[in-house]
Symmetry: none
DNA sequence: AATGAATGAGCGTTCATTCAT
DNA sequence: TATGAATGAACGCTCATTCAT
């Protein structure tokens, strides 16, 4: 079941048409500023100025900066969640589905927005429990898809084993953000790494629990 | 040879014993505050207060906040670099050496300091070129060790292939920080994942370049 | 036509009645402080305190100290410019008009405000081009009146000669500020000097271009 | 009788050779900075840095900024005073002597140093009695020479009349500083004005007290 | 005679927030 | 729904000055 949490907007705002427009504009502008300049430079005054309104009016919609930030993050996170939903039925073939999901994340991580956004999110999640929860909710959606497709690829795996693989794989891919992401030093190698990594995780999924794997372990 | 960069401290400071003590205290306090509260709350006044000195005196040692931050990051990064140096000759057995290096990083990432520090570093590196360079220098050291040990484990690999593997493996491990790090939601699964991940990357290293691997690629 | 330059006040401020009052109070207080204590002691905080407002609110009206100073100088300079306009048609008799203009300036220079203000202005104009321009604009107005009245008194003079006389005369009078101005050591002799100087320049104007004058030049 | 005032330097300093050198260097550097950047930017730290010493050592020589400023102004003023002394016997011919003195001042006023220095001095004299006294002492020297030469040119004038003329003439010339001085808007006209002004004042001196002058006065 | 070390006040400015209109 | 007006704390930084060494 999905969270029932309402927006952090002041209750009673965004009821008329102009108000709804303004509320949307605030979020769009704030999102853009957050991506471009980061959390520390995302001030109420800048958002208000960029959205063409007075600080007073911005406070009317969002009583505190924290409220606005919460909605902003929710906004972005919800976007990812719905993109993951879209990916659910991307292919009938399980392996192709696996490649599609990981490929999407890997490609997305190299966009300017994502390369800049996610590290900021990780920092915030380290200091704020609510943000950590929202972030975890998003990653849980992502992993749920992986768990399903891993189950299709290798039906012999236990639920636990599947969850561990999903976590390991998703974490590994996230880790590439600051190395092959936008403007990052190894960006040029992203394409090559992408395929090696995905095929390699696919093989891991397929072979986990097999005698072969045991043999490898025995080889130590 | 190590970087020749001098400290960003004002020249002429920290010459007497009391000055050296103060300079050290500043770095220690700043490091602690950075870890505990993050970059955005690391203000000159807070550092001064926490170090029991006047803002004026802090400015005497570090003319600008950026200078202090630079030294602070350098300080932490240099610590990692020397730890990596220590790991170089950790074991005679190549595979054990591989496990030792990755194991160290994986364990370190779960400490409170590292879980909090690195995401902040990634954010800063996204916005500041100098910081990005220092960070890359540290990761390069780390990967250089991996490249060597990968070469020992699988001598048939080209330099390029080894570098790609080192990048992929190190990035993957870094990615676990915000999932199984200190106070992170899947911290309890860290131990299990650690071994699976390391053994799995070890197998990847050993089998890369073999017919099996080629078959997989062909299978797409 | 007068300058089109808008105020350096933040746009959108001083729209309501209270805001207009505040804006006026800022300029009045700043002007008083500037006169009393000089440019170097004219700080944002002092102005705010003297005007009974918070530093934040002062910054709301004037984003920077330079903006406030600009408006303050403009304010004072505009006052002089309009006083000069008033002097234009002071008398039908050209010689009386000449005496009126110079007399006004000479008397004004002995007021406390002027004796303190103008040297500060000269210093600022030496370091800031915009201020130099505004000052020159004011003096140009002053000299334009002199040029006209000199033309009436001695119609035989060329434009250039008239301009030179106006510059020489006005500069000479300004120079008395720090000798016979308010609280200056020779203040008591101001009245006597005033008449000698004015009559003497009047005679110069009348006799310039005459044989006598030529003889003097030849005599060198 | 001349003032017995010693330097404002801390007593006991500048006794050894190195100390004397340092004391001189401080004054030279401070003078240069004062000219280049003005009084408001003349800080102890800047002087110390420019003189290649620590702020602590500068304070050893000059306990307070005011003391240093006092010596600096004295230093510059004394320079002018001795230049005036030199001018005393510049020529045997009284009129030439008159031209030499005024010509010197007029030419000097257009140098960068003087154009920048004197307005600063006038501002300081407006706020500080001691500085006002020193300045007056210098101008008194200057006028004393004028009084003498005026007496030679027109022996019929009373002491008072001569003093008034000297004050009027010197003040008038000073007033040209901010109009035809260095980088000032009418600098190009300085040469022409210089001669007109000097000859004109010479004529005034010669004709003061004559029937002609009386006629002019009567003409009002 | 000179330095490094330190203070504490003050600077201009930005900020989140509040409130009357 | 929106603005202008205002607060007060905090920011990074500079300053004159003091003092031990």
């Amino acid at each position: 079941m999905q969270s029932q949490r309402a927006s952090m907007r002041r209750t009673g705002t965004a009821t008329y048409a102009t108000g709804q427009e303004t509320a949307q504009r605030i979020l769009d502008v704030a999102r853009r500023l957050f991506m471009e300049e980061g959390h520390s430079k995302l001030t109420m005054r800048r958002i208000a100025k960029a959205a063409g309104m007075s600080p007073g009016n911005l406070s009317y919609y969002y009583p505190t900066r924290a409220d606005l930030l919460a909605d902003l993050l929710q906004h972005v996170i919800d976007g990812y969640i719905s993109q993951f939903q879209t990916l659910r039925g991307a292919s009938d073939d399980a392996e192709e589905q696996f490649r599609a999901v990981l490929g999407f994340v890997f490609d997305d991580l190299a966009t300017r927005e994502t390369t800049l956004f996610f590290p900021e999110l990780w920092v915030l999640a380290n200091r704020d429990d609510w943000i950590a929860q929202q972030m975890e909710k998003m990653y849980a959606q992502y992993r749920a898809i992986l768990v399903d497709v891993i189950g299709l690829i290798n039906p012999g795996l236990t639920e636990t084993r599947r969850a561990d693989l999903a976590l390991m794989i998703s974490a590994s891919i996230e880790g590439h953000t600051m190395f092959v992401g936008h403007d990052r030093p190894h960006r040029a190698r992203a394409g090559k790494l992408r395929n090696v990594l995905i095929e390699h995780f696919l093989r891991l999924v397929k072979e986990t629990g097999e005698p072969h794997s045991a043999k490898v372990t025995a080889g130590r």
